[in-house]
């Protein structure tokens, strides 16, 4: 990703190192706690106006039904973070296995895998999502699988490019000479030497998945009501935009805070070390 943080003064860097991961961990905690730690029932209509502004009773205002926005965002965190995490795990897990296999086996396996996955990249992610939803309708399993498929090729490419270099190093050749199996070489010899680029890639894919999921939900084609992720929250409250209701921007800010925090976390922890590929 970016190397912007590398040029920043040290103190700022240290601050970012703590604040950004804290935001990420905070959102994960909210996702786990879900509605249980929200101040109100996210589905309950409050004794308040529609699209109310921020107040002491309703910190982030109310939505188009007069429900508490903060509680709805906290409940939506479970959808956004949960779906995105599962999809990213699937995508990176598959990409990692395929990439390692391609680099360890090489030859025709490598060539065929690379060609096929490269072709998949040529379909823009949002379009792929739209076509799948048109064919299958939208449900959480469909969303997770679709996004996993969309982001496998990118991860595969990254893993393969790093792993091919590792696979050419002496200790891998030595392991081969010892007669170790391909799977052993993939997992025990190559993988431990590329942990930090893989983790950085995981963070990056997670950002892409969150953005794609939010976009689909915003278009009304992602998470379906009554469940609502952050993208759906923006969509259902879009009518409040001309009045400047916080119900529209706050869920969008939640998405931004998550993606930017993940981005900065990657920068703070991996940008320096990812290049040498040694953990």
């Amino acid at each position: 990703m970016t190397t912007a943080t590398a040029t920043r003064p040290r103190r700022r860097l240290r601050l970012v190192r703590y604040v950004a991961p804290l935001i990420v961990v905070g959102w994960i905690a909210v996702a786990l706690g879900g509605a249980a730690i929200a101040p109100y029932d996210p589905a309950a209509i409050q004794d308040a106006d529609l699209f109310e502004g921020m107040s002491r009773a309703y910190w982030l205002g109310t939505d188009f039904f007069g429900r508490d926005m903060l509680s709805r965002i906290m409940a939506g965190a479970r959808q956004t973070v949960g779906i995105a995490l599962v999809a990213t795990l699937l995508a990176v897990g598959t990409g990692l296995l395929l990439g390692l296999a391609a680099s360890a086996i090489g030859g025709i396996v490598d060539a065929v895998l690379s060609r096929m996955l490269d072709a998949l990249i040529s379909i823009p992610s949002k379009l792929f999502g739209l076509v799948v939803v048109a064919a299958f309708g939208s449900s959480v399993p469909v969303l997770i699988l679709t996004m996993a498929i969309i982001y496998v090729p990118g991860c595969y490419r990254m893993v393969r490019s790093v792993a091919v270099n590792v696979a050419a190093l002496d200790f891998v050749i030595a392991a081969r000479a010892r007669g170790e199996g391909t799977f052993y070489i993939m997992i025990r010899e190559i993988l431990p030497n590329m942990v930090s680029p893989v983790l950085a890639d995981f963070g990056l894919r997670f950002i892409y998945v969150v953005l794609l999921l939010s976009s689909l939900s915003f278009l009304g084609l992602g998470v379906q009501p009554p469940a609502a992720d952050w993208g759906s929250l923006v969509r259902e409250n879009i009518g409040g935009l001309p009045q400047g209701a916080p119900a529209v921007v706050m869920p969008a800010f939640a998405i931004a805070s998550l993606t930017i925090a993940v981005n900065l976390t990657i920068d703070a922890f991996f940008s320096g070390r990812s290049r040498d590929g040694v953990h």
């Binding site: 970016t2 912007a4 040029t7 920043r8 072709a119 998949l120 040529s122 379909i123 823009p124 992610s125 949002k126 379009l127 739209l130 076509v131 799948v132 939803v133 048109a134 064919a135 299958f136 309708g137 950002i207 953005l211 939010s214 976009s215 915003f218 278009l219 009304g220 084609l221 993208g231 923006v234 879009i238 935009l241 001309p242 009045q243 400047g244 529209v248 921007v249 969008a252 800010f253 998405i255 931004a256 993606t259 930017i260 981005n263």
Partner: protein
């Protein structure tokens, strides 16, 4: 040299064509071979099995998939895209009535975004490491890692709600003068510009920084050439290829952005048409729009590669 370029270009075009065929197959496979009975969906759960079977025949869904695939590919090439499942109108007519609007939006955005992005990228590269460079860098990272609808709704909040320069929702309607053009296009174009500029400025900066750190620029500096002369005379001519590559590649981000922007501002373009088609599961319409978008994307990505090939001095001089 020219033969080498020709061969590379030819390979690139053939690759694009192969990709297009792959994309078409993928679109067909996703929308056809897998479940999700369109006939059932259209008629609803209460429909009799006879009615569903009748509609399946009418839509040609009872023909074997391979046969349907070949027929579909043929129709795609001849421009016969079928009829909408929802209102029965020809898909070509539906798209035809909207595509002009989308192209206009994209063209205006490109006209606004490209100069801004190149300007930002070049200045950031020249003053790299400065506060300005870091600000541009931080701003572009910010825009890239944020959903398009946040950019759009923030723009509405600032320019329509607080400053009240433009109305929040743009209806295309009647355009009778320059004021109307600004009224309709200001916010959509502004949003798309943000999205595209962020990517383009980053890539432009990277391309120019690359050239500026080369040894012939170092040589020019040692000979005492001024900073403007170095950038305009020595660096830019060699960075034009990478910059053209960046421009074409970043413009492909328009396709994703336009889907969100047309929806949020209810702009009557083909992206809105496609999103509505997805919601009603109007498969012929979705297939056609998807092919159109993928085609446009491929054209831009191919253009980016062609720019890179043409600008490679090793190929040019042999």
């Amino acid at each position: 040299m020219t033969a080498a370029i020709g061969r590379l270009l030819l390979t690139r075009f053939l690759l694009s064509l192969a990709t297009l065929i792959f994309v078409a197959s993928a679109v067909f496979a996703i929308t056809n071979l897998l479940p999700g009975d369109v006939a059932q969906e259209l008629l609803g759960q209460a429909a009799t099995p006879e009615a569903v079977a009748g509609l399946r025949t009418a839509l040609g869904l009872d023909v074997p998939p391979l046969q349907r695939y070949i027929a579909w590919l043929g129709n795609l090439v001849t421009g016969n895209l079928g009829n909408s499942l929802v209102n029965g109108q020809p898909v070509t007519a539906l798209i035809g009535s909207r595509i002009g609007n989308s192209l206009l939006l994209a063209a205006i955005t490109a006209l606004v975004a490209v100069p801004i992005a190149i300007g930002l990228g070049i200045t950031a590269a020249v003053w790299r490491g400065s506060l300005y460079d870091r600000l541009v860098g931080a701003a572009t990272v910010l825009v890239v890692s944020v959903p398009e609808f946040l950019v759009a709704s923030t723009a509405v909040l600032i320019f329509a709600v607080h400053l009240q320069w433009v109305p929040a929702l743009s209806q295309l309607g009647r355009i009778t003068g320059l004021a109307d053009v600004v009224r309709v296009f200001a916010l959509p174009v502004m949003t798309l510009t943000f999205v595209v500029v962020a990517q383009m400025a980053r890539m432009t900066r990277a391309a120019l920084v690359d050239v500026l750190s080369s040894s012939y620029v170092e040589m020019a500096r040692l000979k005492g050439a001024g900073p403007i002369r170095i950038v305009v005379w020595h660096a830019l001519p060699n960075a034009i290829g990478p910059i053209a590559n960046a421009v074409a590649f970043s413009l492909s981000f328009l396709l994703g952005g336009v889907i969100i922007v047309e929806t949020i501002f209810s702009y009557p373009g083909i992206a809105k048409l496609m999103v509505d088609g997805v919601a009603t599961r109007d498969l012929p319409l979705v297939q056609a729009c998807a092919m159109l978008f993928c085609g446009a994307y491929l054209v831009l990505v191919t253009a980016a590669d062609v720019a890179a090939i043409l600008a490679n001095p090793r190929l040019r001089k042999g």
